[in-house]
């Protein structure tokens, strides 16, 4: 059974306009790390919102680990996100009033992990992203690359089944971007889940197992 399965998913915002996503079907297996590319405005963000349960499809189903997400109410979907998903954004979105360690610990706190176990996991994650000594620093004291690594550590702290990275290197220089992409791929593979990378960059897409081009209707495999 696929880890993530989209079956004939459709989403449109206005009846008088073409659907943003129309009759899309797609499967992602556990352990897979895929990249999705597409032109601006084609609906990549909408696709991510649908998968994350932050938007509702007009038709079709989305299933994660056998659970049909499209049938869940908001609270239930929130719990799925809390337990099973991790997110990395282009603008980092690290909470400015929490230290790096506290940011990474946040998903674990929401899941009710005890303090000692939480601390150990945070230390480990910060070590994996190369920020072992930066735990007590505030976001304003970190560079863009460091911030994105903190965000990555936060997204992976609770070993999510599905990692969604929305243009994670868009604000980074090429060298830092390469470091972040390497960590992304390594962590996805290490935790046995799956990962979706939304990107404009062919270099970034090349780090994935497979690449697709999204045109709103279909995810067409992209040749290397």
């Amino acid at each position: 059974m696929a880890l993530l399965a989209l079956q004939r998913v459709t989403r449109s915002y206005r009846a008088d306009r073409p659907a943003v996503i129309e009759d899309l079907s797609f499967c992602l297996e556990a352990g897979e790390y895929v990249a999705i590319m597409g032109e601006s405005g084609v609906g990549k963000s909408t696709l991510l919102n649908l998968i994350a349960g932050l938007d509702r499809a007009d038709a079709g189903t989305i299933t994660l680990d056998g659970t049909e997400l499209t049938s869940l109410d908001d609270d239930a979907m929130t719990l799925v996100r809390r337990r099973s998903m991790g997110f990395v954004f282009q603008a980092f979105h690290v909470l400015p009033y929490l230290t790096a360690a506290a940011n990474v610990a946040l998903p674990l706190e929401l899941l009710g992990w005890p303090e000692d176990r939480r601390a150990a996991r945070v230390a480990a994650m910060l070590g994996e992203v190369g920020l072992a000594a930066a735990g007590e620093r505030l976001p304003r004291e970190l560079s863009g690359g460091e911030l994105q690594r903190v965000a990555l550590a936060r997204a992976l702290a609770h070993a999510p089944r599905l990692l969604l990275a929305d243009e994670p290197t868009g604000n980074l220089d090429p060298r830092t971007a390469a470091q972040v992409l390497e960590v992304l791929r390594t962590q996805v593979k290490a935790h046995g889940g799956a990962g979706i990378l939304i990107t404009h960059s062919q270099t970034a897409a090349a780090t994935a197992d497979r690449s697709f081009v999204f045109d709103g209707r279909a995810l067409t495999p992209r040749l290397p």
Binding site: L54, R81, L95, Y97, L106, R140
Partner: protein
């Protein structure tokens, strides 16, 4: 582009922002308007009432340059020809003014005037009485003011029955004066007829003098040989004496209104500061485009000025409406019973209205000044990059200034009154309040550090968020702290006052039943026959009778009540002493209230000269007692001594102790039948008297409670605006939290938690600050305003409830104000960069 052009560009950018955020603009203008409305409203009420009172006084004194006033005791008629013959006096008019008891109940002020002489000082009187001039000189003829005729339902030709002693005297209404003549409810008689009908033969109340042009009125007054108890004063001084009665009360009301203005100013400061922080990117862009720091600062100030102008104009108009409503419902003294209480119309000059509009503008500019400086000082590079705003109230200078203001404010509280007003006390409160506000961040951090919820992620997030943004939170806290601490201070003061007042009532009302001659009644007294009849009434065990007369100890101060009563050891022991009598003196001992001690320097052991019975009597101040009934002062003297000086054995008040099981109501009814004085005598049980007194107290402070509630409301509006303003900048943050699996309910809980924490810090700090400020109110402001002392009593339960309500209100307010962050569009804000 030239400098003014660049500033104009900067302002245009800001103005566009304002138009784009109509709610924020409305909140800011509303805050100013509310503060100005309350301040202007109280000012309009006070000025209208005093203008009315002054006009009424001037209507009575007419064109007089000097008034020789004998008060209620009066002066001998023979003084009139002596003064009239003085070469410096151009015209003299004798006046007898008596509050006569009406047979049907109530009283009427009757002026006995010499129509010919009075017309010399007030020619308009001739016109008013044209058709009935000669009717007035008939025996028992009376002309009524329009207000009196309307209230009594009388017209020309009708009879008016008054009570003089035990007799009923019937007067004939010969004219109803035009409304423009006298606004007050009064009657005018020929002075001879009045003296005869009212039992005042040979006595006058005052003599009004018009002086020869060029005569120095003050010098003439100083040189007059007047009998004891009579004073010579200009009409302005007469008005001033009456205004003094209510001055402290009115000043306190003005200060309360200023509380609302101050809180509104803080709200403006908070909104301007937070909005400039939120727009720092735009300001940085303008700097990058070549607009200078000073020009941006000028644009922010201009924005503030326009907001203030709009708020000031709106507030002045609303203040007028508030004053009109209050004057119509409560009268000019807002229910305190100090200025008459009749419905009035608003009287306010265009200058006064313009001043309030200017005040609103000034407040908004002041509130924008610091934000303008901060904005101008911002480093544009950092602001363009984004990240945390470089703003802090936590610098050392702020802390040092805060501590300095607290200490200076504490020292200022010990200064004496200025012009009889507790201005140093008000200054002390303002200084300490400002000082406390500068230390809000420290306090907030200390409280937040104590809160360590172990296993509640949302609570920890709320605490962390506030700790991380304590400087910005301190701004929104400021409005809450200002309003809540002042509310706490007022609540402690009023509660202390009420508890002290209630305790005092228990001490000064030991009997079961009280009776008194109805107020505003000079023509009925309880003689020895009436006293005997009362004492012999079934159910009455013991009685005590008192005579209360007003005496003037200084020309520029209101009269003091001289209370003549039997003073045995038990009675003396039961007085509410502040300084118990000690030692003996050869002079007659008297016991003064705190007001007499403070106003006349009558400390125990000192000597006073009392004008009683037409002579000055030297007496010794033996003790000081607490009196909440008379802010202008009271002196207690042995009744036998008073009777010996005056040969007046009449009483105006009495107290009766009843036999066990006797009903106060039944005994009062029996007394009424025995005395047969109708409505000229009031009977009231002690229980009812206490209830009525406390109700009057609560009524007098009703406006205080309303102003306090409004001030707290303004503070909460500050919380609402701060949260709404911050919410916009936190949309992405809340979007991230939703992505991390925080439900909408948890986000609402987070917002509520943050609001509750702000409320908690504000409440705790407000309780501490307000407690300190209450000491100034109780021991300095109240003491210097009204010359009576209070026992400090803290209403712990009520304050705890108020603090709890504030915490809840802040939580609800924050949740509602920031609910936009819970919308789906907010979640998508994490991808706004697309």
């Amino acid at each position: 582009m030239r400098a003014p052009g660049r500033a104009r560009v900067a302002f245009a950018v800001l103005a566009a922002q304002l138009r784009d955020r109509p709610l924020r603009l409305a909140v800011t203008i509303g805050a100013i308007a509310l503060g100005i409305a309350l301040t202007a409203g109280v000012y309009f009420v006070n000025s209208s009432a005093l203008t009315e009172f002054a006009q009424a006084t001037r209507a009575l004194t007419g064109g007089a340059d000097l008034v020789v006033d004998g008060g209620r005791a009066g002066i001998a008629e023979r003084l009139y020809p002596e003064l009239a013959r003085d070469a410096r006096v151009a015209a003299a008019s004798p006046v007898l003014e008596v509050d006569a008891a009406l047979a049907a109940g109530g009283s009427l002020t009757i002026l006995g005037v010499d129509p010919f002489r009075a017309g010399e000082l007030e020619p308009a009187l001739y016109g008013d009485l044209t058709s009935s001039f000669f009717d007035l000189v008939q025996p028992r003829a009376i002309a009524l003011s329009a207000a009196a005729a309307a209230s009594l339902g009388l017209a020309r030709g009708d009879a008016l029955a008054i009570r003089v002693g035990r007799d009923e005297v019937r007067l004939r209404v010969v004219a109803v004066l035009p409304e423009t003549a006298y606004a007050r409810r009064l009657g005018i008689m020929d002075i001879g007829a009045a003296q005869w009908a009212l039992g005042r033969l040979g006595r006058l109340t005052r003599i009004e003098l018009r002086l020869v042009p060029g005569t120095d009125a003050a010098r003439l007054a100083a040189g007059l040989a007047l009998p004891p108890g009579a004073v010579a004063a200009t009409p302005a001084a007469v008005e001033g004496r009456a205004a003094t009665l209510s001055r402290a009360y009115r000043v306190n009301l003005n200060m309360l209104a200023l509380v609302a203005l101050l809180t509104g100013a803080f709200l403006v400061f908070a909104t301007q500061l937070l909005s400039t922080l939120r727009r720092r990117g735009q300001f940085a862009l303008l700097r990058a485009l070549g607009v200078r720091r000073a020009e941006i600062g000028l644009a922010v100030l201009l924005e503030g000025a326009l907001v203030g102008l709009a708020g000031g104009a709106l507030g002045t108009a609303v203040g007028w409406l508030i004053a009109d409503l209050v004057l119509g419902r409560l009268g000019g003294d807002l229910g305190a019973g100090l200025l008459g209480g009749a419905p009035l119309a608003v009287r306010a000059s265009p200058l006064a209205c313009g001043a309030f509009v200017a005040l609103g503008t000034a407040v908004a500019i002041a509130g924008s000044w610091l934000p303008a400086r901060r904005v101008a000082a911002m480093a544009p590079a950092r602001a363009l990059k984004g990240g945390d705003p470089e703003f802090t109230l936590l610098d050392r200078r702020g802390r040092a200034l805060g501590i300095g203001l607290l200490l200076t404010g504490a020292a200022t509280a010990f200064l004496p009154p200025l012009g009889g007003l507790p201005l140093a006390g008000y200054a002390s409160i303002a200084l300490m309040l400002f000082g406390a506000l500068l230390l809000v961040p420290q306090f907030a951090m200390a409280v937040l550090a104590l809160l360590r919820p172990r296993d509640h992620a949302i609570a920890r997030l709320a605490i962390a968020q506030l700790k991380g943004t304590v400087a910005q939170s301190a701004v929104s806290l400021a409005a809450v702290v200002v309003s809540f601490s002042l509310m706490v201070a007022m609540a402690i003061m009023v509660h202390s006052f009420r508890e002290s007042f209630e305790r005092w009532l228990g001490e000064v009302l030991p009997a079961d039943l009280y009776l008194r001659i109805a107020p505003g009644n000079d023509t009925v007294v309880l003689g020895s026959a009436e006293a005997a009849a009362i004492a012999a009434t079934p159910g009455v065990l013991r009685t005590e009778f008192r005579r209360s007369v007003p005496i003037a100890l200084a020309p520029d101060l209101p009269t003091v009540a001289l209370i003549a009563r039997p003073l045995d050891a038990k009675t003396l022991a039961g007085l509410p002493w502040v300084v118990r009598p000690v030692g003996t003196s050869a002079l007659t001992p008297v016991y003064v209230s705190e007001a007499v001690r403070d106003l006349y320097g009558a400390k125990p052991g000192s000597t006073l000269r009392l004008p009683v019975g037409g002579q000055l009597h030297a007496v010794s101040v033996a003790g000081v007692w607490r009196d909440y009934a008379r802010s202008s002062g009271a002196i207690v003297i042995e009744r036998a001594t008073y009777e010996a000086w005056t040969h007046d054995d009449g009483a105006t008040e009495g107290a009766a102790w009843l036999a066990p099981g006797a009903s106060a109501t039944a005994v009062a009814a029996a007394l009424g039948r025995r005395l047969a004085l109708g409505a000229s005598v009031d009977f009231i049980s002690t229980t009812r008297l206490k209830e009525r007194s406390l109700a009057a107290f609560d009524r007098a402070f009703a406006i205080t409670y309303a102003l306090e509630a409004i001030a707290v409301g303004i503070g909460l509006a500050g919380v609402a605006f701060a949260f709404a303003s911050q919410a916009l900048g936190r949309r992405a943050e809340f979007g991230v939290l939703r992505h991390l699996g925080v439900s909408r309910r948890s986000l609402r809980l987070l917002l509520a938690g943050e609001g509750a924490l702000v409320g908690l810090v504000g409440a705790l700090y407000g309780l501490i600050t307000g407690g300190v400020l209450s000491l100034v109110l109780v021991y300095v402001v109240n003491r210097q305003s009204f010359h009576w002392s209070l026992t400090l009593v803290i209403p712990g339960l009520e304050l705890a409830a108020a603090a709890g309500a504030l915490v809840v209100a802040a939580a609800v307010t924050a949740t509602i104000a920031a609910r936009a962050v819970l919308s789906p569009s907010a979640v998508r804000a994490v991808r706004e960069d697309w």
